[in-house]
């Protein structure tokens, strides 16, 4: 089955940005003729984003779409922000959430079907949104629970699906393996980020110590060189800070996003199984109805017979419908998976390039710092 991908060369020009996060998030986008204007800004709460996700999940996942999940709730993080704490970890939390919400929206609007969805349009355009209520389910734990519920249903299936097409089985296995690897990688990168932050702290402390040593030194030229060294190390600390941010925001968050996205993908495979299950159940119900009809024919009860015939017609229609649904979900899943893989490759590529380029810039600044220091060291006499 060779599915041709819509080579829609991104005729979409929807740019979503999330800025000024405090308690409320605000964003603007430039967009297509389908929207009422070229650029506009609306204010949204974090719970609004969760509300959008919930609406989309209910509708679209039944069709086999991969719905990008929003960033998870964090009671600790938000409490600190509400209290108005200005410490670096709160600042980082706010930035982290802002960036994650932006990526979430960008993924939503770059999905051709989701962009058409009226709930999405409303989210982007409407001045005031009614307060989303039932978003408890969408904390990190809640989201996982949803996914697992679907898997449980699948596991409880007594009739094992006979895959005529191994594509789905193979893909599912691939997805599970990849998710595992990404989790491992995420943990490693997290360790890297922490070590980098440690290096920042240690470098700052060392720079101060060097400055003190420089003050103690009685040889004038050496004293100056040591003070200069202290300044270079201070600059190095700055570089390490920036590198840690790069490690985190470019690398680690990318991995976190894709771990969640792969979870969503597993979810839509499960939806396909549910669709199959519904079809199978309808078929067995139809079979039962036919057997009941046969029994009635034998018992010669004409009034009940008509009802039985009506029920058979109804269930025949259902079987046909559910079979069509199942096929359609299957096709959508395939399309979605292909699209997802393309997007993922693009995403990873662009992030890794960003990461390497940030590192390159950092190295070049490092060279400048040490080249400026070298004559000071040579001047020692």
């Amino acid at each position: 089955l060779q599915l041709e991908e819509d080579e829609a060369k991104d005729s979409f020009d929807v740019d979503v940005a999330v800025t000024n996060p405090e308690k409320v998030v605000q964003f603007k986008d430039t967009s297509l003729p389908m929207f009422r204007s070229k650029a506009f800004t609306v204010r949204r709460r974090y719970s609004d984003f969760l509300g959008l996700y919930e609406k989309l999940s209910v509708k679209q996942s039944l069709l086999g779409c991969i719905i990008p999940p929003p960033p998870e709730k964090s009671v600790v993080g938000m409490t600190k922000v509400k209290v108005g704490m200005d410490d670096p970890s709160s600042v980082e939390f706010v930035e982290r959430r802002r960036a994650a919400l932006e990526r979430y929206l960008q993924r939503v609007v770059s999905h051709p079907s989701l962009l058409q969805d009226p709930d999405v349009r409303e989210f982007l355009e409407r001045e005031e949104l009614p307060r989303a209520v039932s978003t408890q389910a969408l904390s990190g734990a809640g989201f996982l629970k949803m996914i697992n519920k679907a898997s449980d249903a699948v596991n409880k299936m007594t009739i094992k699906m006979n895959e005529s097409d191994t594509w789905f089985e193979d893909k599912f296995q691939e997805v599970e393996n990849e998710e595992q690897q990404l989790r491992k990688l995420h943990a490693l990168v997290d360790s890297l980020v922490n070590h980098r932050k440690e290096l920042c702290g240690n470098t700052a402390v060392f720079a101060k110590s060097m400055a003190m040593l420089g003050n103690s030194e009685d040889n004038t030229a050496l004293s100056r060189a040591l003070s200069q060294l202290a300044e270079v190390e201070d600059k190095m600390e700055q570089l390490h800070q920036e590198q840690a941010a790069s490690d985190f925001f470019i690398f680690e968050e990318l991995l976190a996003d894709y771990i969640r996205l792969l979870g969503a993908m597993r979810g839509c495979f499960d939806q396909r199984m549910r669709a199959w299950q519904r079809w199978q159940e309808a078929q067995s119900t139809l079979q039962k109805k036919r057997e009941a009809e046969a029994k009635l024919l034998w018992a010669n009860k004409p009034d009940k017979l008509q009802q039985a015939k009506d029920e058979i017609t109804e269930w025949e229609a259902r079987v046909t419908q559910y079979e069509r649904d199942f096929d359609r979900v299957g096709m959508t899943v395939r399309k979605e998976v292909l699209r997802f893989e393309k997007e993922k490759a693009k995403d990873f590529k662009s992030q890794i390039i960003k990461y390497l380029e940030a590192m390159l810039q950092s190295q070049q600044r490092l060279i400048k710092f040490w080249e400026a220091f070298l004559p000071e060291a040579k001047a020692i006499a």
């Binding site: 890297l192 440690e198 470098t203 009685d218 040889n219 040591l226 590192m359 020692i380």
Partner: protein, 384 residues
């Protein structure tokens, strides 16, 4: 491989080096090689095997020698410490099952490099100790030094005898009392007054810097290790991809890893070792000040004793002789101490200069290497 001191080994009359060493379980056996034109030695060229404890014996006998009280005795080399790589190797063995073969191999290579670095460092520091002695006009003539270099039997018998003789009492005394005595003494000589203030202050600062530098290089090493694991996982993630993609990930992760690892070890050698070495050297200078302070205290006590003897009109000649003896000792110490401390200053400044230059040059070199690697990786990704 002389990262710390300036070239000491240039007087052809006595050339010493440690051309190789063996690591046997916990013990390191150094081969001490001597080339000499001096007639005091039996042969012009010879080698002997020595252990770390032999170096300590030599150092301690020099410290205990009264005649050398006015000299800065080069600090004893620290004991070879393979604890860190050994522990890591052990952990690696335990965690082997959880890693890919590639990851395990790379970690093992890193650890072997770490082992080698520790090994090289310990050889160097033992070598420098001997070279400091051979380039010192007085210490190079020491009889025990000659025995250390020449005696082709095991030194452990001599070592045991020495322990019984001295019992390490002097060292213990020095460690506990020196700060108080040095700072408490009333100094008449400006030079020594300044030196005392300077050395006490500088010592505490350099000790602090050494500790902070060690923490910094340790953090760098952790990052280098992280990159090994990250690149191994990236590689296994892209294992199913096309070859081109695999190569892309491989090359970028290798370049990241190499840069971080290299930076960690160079920084270790240059900066941290420099600070560590001079911290110990300054302690040796402080020890000299202590000995002089003690000699001054002895002299002052002998004055008091002479006054008392004169009062009592008893044992005056002995008291006078004792006082003269103390004065001579003190003057001798002051004279040689001044010379030693002055040349120490010069030596320190030269060593700092050399190492700071080398460190800056290495940082630049590595950054340049990695900044040529990275655009290549980026290009590989862009044109895919």
């Amino acid at each position: 491989m002389r990262s710390v001191s300036v070239d000491l080994n240039h007087d052809a009359s006595l050339l010493i080096d440690i051309p190789d060493a063996l690591c046997e379980r916990d013990k390191v056996k150094f081969t001490v090689h001597t080339k000499t034109t001096l007639s005091s030695f039996q042969k012009p060229e010879f080698s002997v095997p020595r252990q770390h404890e032999d170096f300590i014996w030599l150092h301690d006998t020099l410290v205990e020698t009264e005649d050398y009280a006015g000299l800065i005795i080069p600090p004893a080399p620290p004991k070879p410490d393979f604890e860190s790589p050994r522990e890591k190797m052990h952990k690696l063995g335990e965690g082997e099952a959880t890693m890919t073969k590639d990851e395990y191999t790379k970690m093992k290579q890193e650890l072997e490099a770490e082992y080698l670095a520790v090994f090289k460092k310990t050889v160097q520091v033992h070598e420098v100790f001997l070279q400091r002695l051979s380039s010192h006009p007085t210490l190079s003539k020491d009889r025990n030094f000659q025995i250390f270099l020449e005696y082709d039997q095991d030194l452990s018998v001599r070592r045991k005898n020495a322990k019984e003789m001295f019992g390490g009492f002097f060292k213990n005394m020095v460690k506990s009392a020196d700060e108080v005595l040095i700072s408490g003494i009333k100094e008449v000589d400006d030079f020594f007054e300044q030196e005392k203030t300077f050395l006490l202050d500088y010592y505490s600062k350099i000790k602090d810097s050494t500790a902070k530098a060690e923490k910094m290089t340790r953090a760098h090493k952790n990052i280098a290790d992280d990159y090994i694991h990250v690149s191994a996982t990236l590689n296994s993630l892209s294992a199913d991809d096309s070859t081109a993609n695999k190569n892309r990930y491989l090359s970028s992760s290798v370049s990241l890893q190499k840069v971080e690892g290299r930076v960690a070890s160079d920084q270790e050698l240059k900066l941290t070792e420099l600070l560590r070495y001079y911290m110990r050297d300054i302690q040796a200078a402080k020890d000299l000040l202590y000995r002089r302070a003690r000699a001054l205290a002895d002299y002052e006590n002998s004055n008091k004793a002479l006054d008392k003897a004169r009062l009592k009109s008893k044992d005056i000649p002995q008291a006078e002789e004792h006082q003269q003896h103390c004065l001579q000792k003190f003057d001798k110490l002051s004279e040689s101490g001044k010379k030693e401390l002055t040349s120490f200053k010069g030596r320190r400044v030269v060593a700092f200069r050399k190492n700071l230059i080398e460190m800056a040059e290495l940082e630049i070199k590595h950054a340049k290497v990695s900044s040529t690697l990275q655009p290549t990786c980026v290009r590989l990704f862009v044109y895919s």
